[in-house]
Symmetry: C2
Subunit: 417 residues, 2 copies
Amino acid sequence: MALIVQKYGGTSVADCERIEHVAGKVAATRAQGHDVVVVVSAMAGETDRLLGLAHRVAPRPNRRELDVLLASGEQVSMALLCIALEKRGLKARSFTGGQVCIRTDTAHTKARIEKIDTERLRRTLAEGMVPVVAGFQGIDEVGDITTLGRGGGDTTAVGVAAAMQADECHIYTDVDGVYTADPRLVPDARRLPRITFEEMLELASQGSKVLQIRAVEFAGKYNVPLRVLSTFKEGEGTLITYEDHAVEAALVSGVAFSRDEAEIALLGVPQVPGIAYRILGPVSDANIEVDMIVQNVARDGKMDFAFTIHRNDHPQVMDILRANLGHIGAQDLQSNERVVKISVVGVGMRSHAGVASTVFRALAEAGIELRMVATSEIKVSVVVDEKQLEAGVRALHKAFGLASPPKEDMSHRGAAG
Amino acid sequence: MALIVQKYGGTSVADCERIEHVAGKVAATRAQGHDVVVVVSAMAGETDRLLGLAHRVAPRPNRRELDVLLASGEQVSMALLCIALEKRGLKARSFTGGQVCIRTDTAHTKARIEKIDTERLRRTLAEGMVPVVAGFQGIDEVGDITTLGRGGGDTTAVGVAAAMQADECHIYTDVDGVYTADPRLVPDARRLPRITFEEMLELASQGSKVLQIRAVEFAGKYNVPLRVLSTFKEGEGTLITYEDHAVEAALVSGVAFSRDEAEIALLGVPQVPGIAYRILGPVSDANIEVDMIVQNVARDGKMDFAFTIHRNDHPQVMDILRANLGHIGAQDLQSNERVVKISVVGVGMRSHAGVASTVFRALAEAGIELRMVATSEIKVSVVVDEKQLEAGVRALHKAFGLASPPKEDMSHRGAAG
């Protein structure tokens, strides 16, 4: 008998029929003899409806009260799920973040979990009941309601799983696992049976929308095995854990991409100490996140400095740089809003050379021009023209043989099953 | 500077515009130098929407979870009201029933308030803020969410006012006070500037829908001066307090009526000990409330026994009595679903004789046949055919001179103002 935390997102509890479907899944897990703690989000659309009301009352609503308002959303879905569970003959009890003491800091609308008191949850399980906990919300030290920000429901589930020392944390979404690439772009993309926290973090930060980065970080920090599953389709999903040293890791696990990139280049910048800060300091002061940064070797004391940002931030960044151009001493400022980023990710890169050159060869053979390149320990990212996104993702997916399961993984599955 | 508890019902906070209007009224009271604690209901229609969701999931939803579900309604309106107050530059803080420890028993969906902890409210006021409290909800001893049942928002307001020893508790509704009769029936009906708790209780139980009976009882028990006011129309409303002995009370304060009556009569019942229980015991066992009961003097050991019930209960009561007719030993069973009850109410009756005979004379002159009569210390009620409701109410309103203010009240107002 295992203890499993199951998290159902907004689309999984979008209406009464889906809530009954979720109750059926919880009942099935209980029937297998497992203890279950459920974490739910607000019904899909509810958070936006409540935000709409708040903004009709005030353009910048008070953030403490915004949290009180938004927290009502999960209160509705958790109660309805318990009503559905009770109808099936299961005993169930819903709990707000406050009722199970999900203690957070006081940063309203983006609070961080500090502590979870498991006493009430353990007692509820011991009484043979299913606790259903509101995701996304908590209380601060004076008992005020806080929310964790969008996607906070996943973080609540991981936090509860960590505090309860659950065997696995299941995140139910509308996809049935993590894929080697987006199946809408690459028809022969394959679901990964397992993947490491690090790979998942890189995939998430590279645009794969399956899980929230914070929840993955949190799971990695507390070593909570995460499983991504579909609410609507049976299957094993994808298990996210620490690297299993008994199994040789795949060279590349997947190809991710991000469409919303803009590339900015400063040409002929004097190579002097502190120049990178002189360029990016004012951008960062404006709370704009810079993603890739590339600086090449200087010639005659001058170099080119390029970086990527979210496409929405492009006009503001250009304004900042134009105002600063004299101070920076650059000869020219160029930008391109029609670029995308493609990344290959895999922990196997650590012990294998040649991944970058396979990337370059595959893209060259597909006639794709590289605009920028950046690498990390387990990732190679390239920036290309947005027209070449699909061809690039497919070329890399094929070059690393991702359509068929890697030999290592096959032997592992053979040995395990 | 006074401390005033203001309670705004569902129609007062039905949409964002009305919530801003309420914020304006709170701000105006603050501007007069008063401390204000606000109690709000859920936005009109929200409770029914949530109940609809629950009943779509299960025909008889778990009551603990129903309370969790319904309590989300006030959470939305209290947060929106605080957002509106903050936009106006006032400091405001919303609190759920749990956050200000409105402790109730565990009777989910109809809990009763046991205790209110005022510490957080006093601290909030001391910091110059407006506390906005969710009406209708509380928590039980284990921290589970409870609700007080429909109309519980008024009870919360009175409870908060009693616990805080507020100077007055203002109940804002869509009527501007308590009238001598329903103005839709009696065009010259007059708003009463003041009325006693007892009169208000009798008027409420006789069908006047202005305030919930439980809230009036509660206010009387803790001697909280209640004022009924309109959210949408300026005015003094009606103040409900204990009898003011300095002022001679009006003979009759108002005429109330109830349309939903049915009359049942058992004829030729043997006059034996325990016969009333033999008739009404099974009715009461079926949880049906009996209103007026009239038993006349026996002749030849036989008497007639009549009572009134809510019209909806008529078929069930008739079934119960028919099944019991042999055991009761009655000669005949008659009933009439087309009757209404009219009552005149006034604490002045205590010290004045002749009210009943004025009622009888006025109705006789209007050609109205009395079917049943019942009197209490401050009330005379009659049952008449439903076709004579309007004529009866008007005749009584006129007979007691209610259209013009009573002399006693005039002199009082003259002396006070």
